[in-house]
Symmetry: C2
Subunit: 239 residues, 2 copies
């Protein structure tokens, strides 16, 4: 059986007290969204464990690729969540019972786990969400309409939401949330959504153009009459 | 014997694959300094382990207090260092041999360790450095004159040095490195040292005063004739 097999092999394969959790963030129709998984009646962040000889960076990249299908996703460290009693014994026990899989007290994922959390800004149109062996469903949730979640996973999500706002103030990149080519109104709206505040449109445009990070593309969009039709893309560091 | 006793008790007490390392940074005579420990002929960062039911935050605070004697030290997360082969088997084996303590292959600190690193900006005049049970010496080192260090500890130090510069750009606080009361020339010099660049004195003063974070104290210093004698202190958030 698939789950039983996973438990058997994972017991030896992974570091015993450490997990990785991912806040995978996308932007669609003016809303910020997070990719979540359902186990029974609650939702959790995509996550996984670190192989005994695997680097933490490799584990994070692997877990993110597995759930999004993206080859080289944006990935940034968020924070350590390390409460002394951080364990999911009860949740796993109920899950196993619901699947009629024998439960054992000494299963390693009953341990206390320190979780290393990351966030990733992705282009939703490039993503193919894939659930893991334990998961019953995978779905995008609006940050303003989050479901019931496992233990501190809501806290992790909110920490990522706040970090995104902080990053933007320090002029970190956010274009990962947009397609390769985007218009100034699209970028303007994204910044407004992240900051939760109105930004003067012409001052915003001036600031973005002055940053030297954007390249205006020669081709015109013809499906948005009455608006600035130019498309932009981010100048890649190699260029 | 003290070391043998520590090993015996620590085997059961701590999480098996995770450590905490501290970059403790001070500022003295125009130089940035880090507090390091010596074991045999190499130096390492102050560090420790996380109790099986202890929160990561608590462990970090405890380790920092033990080495500095400061009650409520500044403490900020730096980064995870998680290479797949990150272990100190060889170093510990040589240390044990040098002390004539029996060596065992299955000692838990031979494990691969993911280390959670932090940095702390402290006032050197308020610090009482204390070495741990394994350490042979504790000393301050100029960041520009660092000694031979264990594995990736130099890398961790340099990451902290770079973060300090980054933090300053984002106008994070640095006054933890100064005594409670300081003069504008002292603050100016500190910023120059951190950024490794000259800062125009009067523009710097204007910017600092405009920040609204500093309070000018009424009392004059009388030991620095010819300079701006005013002292400042940081307005505490509660005030």
């Amino acid at each position: 059986m698939e789950i039983a097999g996973f438990i058997e092999s994972s017991q030896k394969q992974y570091l015993p007290n450490m997990s990785v959790d991912m806040v995978i963030i996308a932007y669609e129709e003016g809303r910020l969204k997070a990719l979540l998984l359902r186990i029974r009646d609650k939702w959790l962040l995509p996550g996984g464990y670190i192989g005994k000889e695997e680097s933490v960076d490799h584990a994070a990249g692997r877990i993110l690729r597995e759930r999004t299908g993206i080859d080289e996703p944006h990935l940034k460290f968020l924070a350590v969540f390390g409460d002394g009693q951080r364990e999911f014994r009860q949740e796993w026990m109920e899950f196993f019972q619901s699947k009629n899989i024998p439960w054992r007290e000494d299963y390693w994922f009953n341990n206390r786990f320190v979780t290393l959390t990351y966030y990733s800004l992705i282009d939703i149109t490039q993503t193919t969400p894939v659930k893991g062996v334990m998961d019953e469903e995978i779905a995008w949730f609006d940050f303003d309409e989050l479901p019931d979640m496992w233990m501190d996973h809501l806290d992790i999500l909110q920490t990522a939401r706040a970090r995104l706002k902080e990053d933007l103030k320090h002029e970190h990149i956010t274009h990962n949330l947009l397609p390769d080519k985007f218009t100034m109104p699209e970028l303007h709206q994204l910044h407004q959504v992240i900051l939760r505040e109105k930004l003067d449109r012409s001052r915003f445009q001036k600031k973005m153009l002055a940053s030297g990070l954007l390249e205006r593309l020669p081709k015109l969009q013809n499906d948005t009459p009455g608006r600035n039709p130019f498309q932009y893309r981010v100048i890649s560091p190699e260029a």
